[in-house]
């Protein structure tokens, strides 16, 4: 484990060094390729004057709210699709279609419907995550081997008990991967929304990125991209990875040789 961490760190140090060397070679104008040191100075500045922190808070608030609602809606709707063919043939089809729609495509619609408001942000994030959650739950529950349900029924398990203690845990690996996918879509759509929608109620990471472009401040663009990337990585490593590792070790599907 330590060995792997060291390798990762060395890799990133190497990338940054390479970047600095390219900068020093002056192959491109420093306006297009600033030094990693400039980016670091910018980031230090925005950390010190709290700009970055408040932007991160605004963005995270939006994602938690939107993604949370996406999950809360997606879970029951996915269950309905998995059990009742009526919902599968109606809602399920819509979900399948809309899941393939890139989430940035919701931006014009949201702008016209809600104007430049928080509601527009909220709407875009929900639309980005809801469909993939529905589909993942639907597939997950349908993949539950009937023998588990049969065995549970012969032990006296019925209706709600079967749902809570058999269907849900049996489908959990699928549900978690659906949640992960939903998160990825939600995150992408929020960034798109923040870049496109200028609103005064909150200045998110996407806005910082947008203004970096307006001001031609490449160190800001790169710095904020880095922050967005790091948040994405952290969520994966801190929220989803532990759950996935646990599930894999329970189910015996662990393929990595740690």
């Amino acid at each position: 484990m330590i060995r792997r961490t060291v390798i990762s760190i060395c890799f990133f140090v190497f990338l940054i060094l390479l970047w600095e060397i390219l900068y020093l070679l002056e192959l491109w104008s420093p306006v297009l390729l600033p030094s990693p040191i400039d980016v670091g100075i910018y980031l230090y500045g925005v950390i010190e004057n709290q700009t970055l922190l408040s932007a991160v808070v605004v963005t995270l608030k939006r994602i938690v709210l939107g993604y949370g609602c996406g999950l809360l809606l997606g879970l029951p709707l996915g269950l309905l699709c998995s059990r009742l063919n009526f919902f599968r043939d109606t809602l399920g089809l819509i979900a399948l279609g809309l899941q393939t729609l890139p989430s940035v495509c919701w931006v014009p619609l949201a702008l016209l419907w809600f104007g430049q408001t928080e509601s527009a942000m909220f709407f875009i994030v929900i639309m980005g995550s809801l469909w993939s959650v529905i589909i993942a739950i639907n597939t997950g529950v349908r993949q539950v081997p009937p023998i588990y349900v049969k065995a549970a029924r012969t032990m006296g398990s019925k209706r709600l008990h079967t749902w809570v203690y058999v269907f849900f845990p049996a489908a959990l690996p699928f549900i978690v991967s659906g949640m992960k996918q939903g998160w990825a879509f939600a995150w992408r759509s929020l960034m798109a929304a923040e870049i496109y929608v200028t609103i005064l109620t909150g200045f998110g990471l996407g806005h910082l990125l947008h203004y970096g472009r307006e001001l031609n401040a490449m160190e800001q663009v790169i710095g904020i991209m880095g922050v967005i990337l790091i948040i994405g990585l952290l969520v994966d490593k801190l929220c989803f990875s532990p759950i996935e590792t646990l599930l894999h070790s329970r189910w015996g599907t662990n393929l990595t040789n740690e």
Binding site: I147, Y148, K150, A151, A152, R153, T154, M155, G156, S157, H161, Y165, V166, P169, A170, L172, S249, R250, W251, G252, T253
Partner: protein, 262 residues
């Protein structure tokens, strides 16, 4: 209620299936009484309806005609009165060995948590897996999994234990061990067991009574009382004599069926 009321009985049971527009008679006029503490093996080739009968007894499917009675009252739905042990172990991968055995016990509201734990540990000990109570299914061998499945099926103390080819997917050595374990447990507890298998020798080894089925339509052909001392060894000569007798009869019925269908 009479004194000699059977534990489990099938009365003139029919079951049909639709297959590609044809009606298949899976079970035809099945009459069978199984008494308390009896170990009955249903044996026959695939398609003879023996598993269907087991599913009917479990309440997982409904008969098209006739009745299935447990202690004189009709079996309406599945429940812990008739527990089933399947060919695939059907253990829940998200629960530990102990959790699996506790699953059925937790559905018994009159037990306290402490009692449940005691019962679960008692049965895990009975199948020799006390040391593995924290393990997960994928960490166990095939034979161990079926042992856990056996403990899980026994723990809620069902009136009848239904076993659907539970050892069919195991290797021969493990299977022989489990024959020994099952007989030992049965001798201790005198549980009523209905055991489905296509292996005549296995049936003769385990059963007090062997019920021979033949297919197309699925029906009972004969029953054999196996009066051999226990525990029985699957490789013993006496057992071979009995099993040869059943196998010969089965071959005869199969030949006749083929003549009819050709």
């Amino acid at each position: 209620m009479t004194l000699h009321q059977p534990k489990l009985s099938a009365k003139n049971v029919f079951k049909f299936f639709e297959m590609q527009g044809h009606r298949i008679v899976a079970l035809q006029a099945i009459d069978l009484d199984i008494h308390s503490g009896e170990f009955v093996c249903l044996v026959g080739p695939s398609g003879c309806g023996k598993s269907t009968l087991l599913n009917l007894m479990a309440g997982l499917i409904k008969a098209d005609k006739g009745q299935l009675l447990l202690d004189g009252s009709p079996i309406e739905e599945p429940g812990s009165h008739c527990l089933v042990m399947f060919q695939e172990h059907a253990l829940f991968p998200w629960l530990s060995v102990l959790g699996n055995v506790l699953f059925g016990l937790k559905l018994k509201p009159h037990l306290t948590a402490k009692e449940r734990l005691e019962v679960a540990r008692y049965y895990l000990n009975l199948v020799g897996l006390s040391r593995f109570e924290k393990a997960y299914t994928h960490e166990l061998s095939g034979g161990m999994r079926q042992r856990v499945a056996l403990a899980r099926a026994l723990a809620p103390n069902p009136k009848v234990l239904l076993m659907d080819e539970p050892f069919a997917s195991l290797d021969a050595l493990t299977r022989e061990q489990l024959y020994g374990d099952l007989q030992r447990i049965w001798l201790q507890h005198k549980k009523t067991i209905v055991f489905v298998t296509h292996n005549v020798r296995e049936a003769v080894c385990l059963g007090d009574r062997v019920v021979l089925f033949s297919p197309h339509p699925g029906q009972i052909r004969n029953t054999y009382d196996i009066d051999l001392p226990r525990p029985r060894d699957i490789n013993s000569v006496n057992l071979a004599v009995h099993s040869a007798q059943v196998t010969d009869a089965l071959k005869g019925y199969l030949a006749k069926t083929e003549e009819c269908t050709v």
